[in-house]
């Protein structure tokens, strides 16, 4: 769910654009540096962007029986890191606005802030924290995807509440209204996205361990160990 075109008043749209700008600029710098050092990264990053775009187009069955789309921000942040996700997320949101009429150009800053910045950073922070405390990989992946998804929609509710405060109870009342529609209903979907991300990661761990090691999900010595085991088996 993205904030639709023209939904936010001009001052709010500009303010969220300004708030997102430093993160996107930081991401652009990281991406430019990476591409200059390794020109072949352009193709890998493009593939990652396409993967993020396609992931957000998959239909996700909710645990309550309804259906929605995953945000993909948790998985993206684990695989590609939050600064890169800020750029890939911005590109994906631009494509969604122009190719699918999801979101908008005037609300791009607000959507980038919730989906490409807060979601990935929150998910990645939870993932790193849990991994450092020795929590198994798949448990950390579940909570990263869950938190990334839910925090995205909580921020969207805050953005809407700030733009349209309740006439009686102000910001808090509006937050309750928008939160009950856009964030609380998202809890089962966030659980679903957590499960889906775990299943995808399990399959990737079996089929693409090399890529995951190169992306830093698995430590490099683990790849060496796997290769040695394979060599011994041969």
């Amino acid at each position: 769910m993205h904030i639709a075109e023209g939904f936010l008043p001009p001052a709010h749209a500009i303010a969220w654009g300004v708030a997102s700008a430093p993160f996107v600029v930081h991401g652009v710098r990281s991406l430019t540096r990476e591409v200059k050092e390794h020109p072949e990264s352009t193709l890998l990053l493009g593939a990652s962007g396409a993967f993020t775009f396609v992931l957000s187009a998959l239909k996700l069955p909710s645990v309550t029986g309804s259906c929605s789309h995953p945000t993909g921000t948790g998985l993206g942040a684990i695989l590609f890191r939050p600064p890169i996700m800020a750029v890939l997320g911005t590109i994906t949101l631009l494509f969604q606005a122009l190719l699918l009429a999801h979101g908008g150009l005037t609300t791009l800053g607000a959507n980038v802030f919730s989906m490409a910045i807060v979601g990935p950073w929150a998910g990645y922070a939870v993932y790193r924290l849990l991994r450092r405390t020795g929590v198994p990989l798949m448990v950390a992946v579940f909570f990263a995807a869950f938190v990334a998804d839910l925090s995205t929609y909580c921020v969207t509710s805050v953005q809407l509440a700030l733009a349209f405060p309740d006439p009686s109870s102000g910001f808090l009342g509006a937050l309750g209204k928008f939160g009950s529609i856009f964030a609380v209903t998202q809890i089962p979907l966030a659980v679903s996205e957590g499960f889906l991300t775990v299943l995808v990661m399990r399959l990737l761990a079996q089929s693409s361990k090399g890529e995951l090691t190169r992306l830093g999900v698995f430590p490099a010595d683990e790849r060496k160990r796997t290769e040695t085991t394979e060599a011994v088996a041969r």
């Binding site: 769910m1 993205h2 639709a4 075109e5 023209g6 939904f7 749209a13 652009v28 991406l31 430019t32 591409v35 200059k36 020109p39 352009t42 193709l43 890998l44 493009g46 593939a47 990652s48 396409a50 993967f51 775009f53 396609v54 992931l55 187009a57 998959l58 239909k59 069955p61 750029v87 890939l88 590109i91 994906t92 631009l94 494509f95 122009l98 190719l99 009429a101 999801h102 908008g104 150009l105 005037t106 349209f164 006439p167 009686s168 109870s169 009342g173 509006a174 309750g176 209204k177 928008f178 529609i181 499960f195 889906l196 299943l199 995808v200 399959l203 990737l204 089929s207 693409s208 890529e211």
Partner: protein
């Protein structure tokens, strides 16, 4: 290909420079959010619809299919303005709520139509390479170009895999549907990276130096078109200011 991009490729205004269409489409969007919703946004909405269904030749059915997506969000979001929380009783109807919700719906609908006018007439492949001239760093534009081109291939792959899964009864039970969906996500990842590796090998054989050079259809900014668009926007502003008093 996605319906909006497909329509853009066969649009009557396909050969026009993106700047021409941005002045008109995005200009209408800016007016929609900055003018008073009544009568400003209403006038913008009517103008955008007239231009799209008339001179731009956007198919009505495709437009409706694209337009109902943002409309769903707008209706849900605007409905919250009808209700107030707190005050006398815990929940009640908000004073002036219907008016605020109506104005929001008008503004959002008009702004969405402005962007749709631009999207339905400007293929992404015409727009992206020109972003470098607008100051976007070349590496970011290159990544966006690869993302754009690879997205369609991946969407095609995902569609085929989904059909194959359905043919193998992969969606009959809840557990099977989850397994299939996870397989779909993982396959998309594997195929994206495999395609990137093969592209890299192919480009390396052709002396790839990190810059993707693509042919962009030649088009010139039309002074007549942009002037006419600016005049139309100015007329909308004037008409709104003139009508605002009598109609409010």
């Amino acid at each position: 290909m996605l319906p909006i991009d497909e329509a853009a490729h066969s649009s009557r205004w396909r050969r026009r420079h993106p700047v021409d269409k941005a002045v008109l489409g995005l200009g209408l969007t800016v007016l929609a959010i900055s003018l008073p919703p009544w009568p400003g946004a209403a006038l913008v909405m009517m103008t955008a619809l007239t231009v799209m269904l008339g001179p731009a030749g956007v198919p009505g059915r495709r437009l409706w299919r694209a337009y109902r997506v943002p409309l769903g969000f707008c209706v849900t979001g605007a409905a919250t303005l009808l209700v107030r929380v707190g005050g006398d009783g815990f929940v009640g109807l908000a004073e002036g709520g219907p008016q605020r919700a109506g104005e929001l719906l008008l503004r959002t609908s008009a702004a969405s139509l402005g962007v749709l006018l631009f999207a339905f007439t400007t293929p992404m492949s015409d727009l992206l390479p020109r972003l470098v001239k607008a100051g976007v760093p070349a590496p970011v534009v290159d990544v966006a170009l690869v993302t754009y081109r690879m997205s369609f291939l991946l969407l095609d792959s995902v569609r085929s895999v989904r059909q194959a899964q359905a043919a193998r009864l992969g969606h009959t039970t809840r557990a099977a549907a989850w397994r299939s969906l996870a397989g779909l996500g993982a396959t998309a990842f594997v195929r994206a990276f495999d395609r990137a590796a093969r592209l890299q090998n192919g480009l390396a054989g052709r002396g790839y130096d990190g810059t993707l050079r693509v042919l962009v259809p030649k088009a010139r900014v039309s002074a007549r078109f942009t002037t006419a668009s600016a005049a139309l926007l100015a007329a909308l502003i004037t008409l709104t200011l003139v009508l605002e008093g009598p109609l409010s």
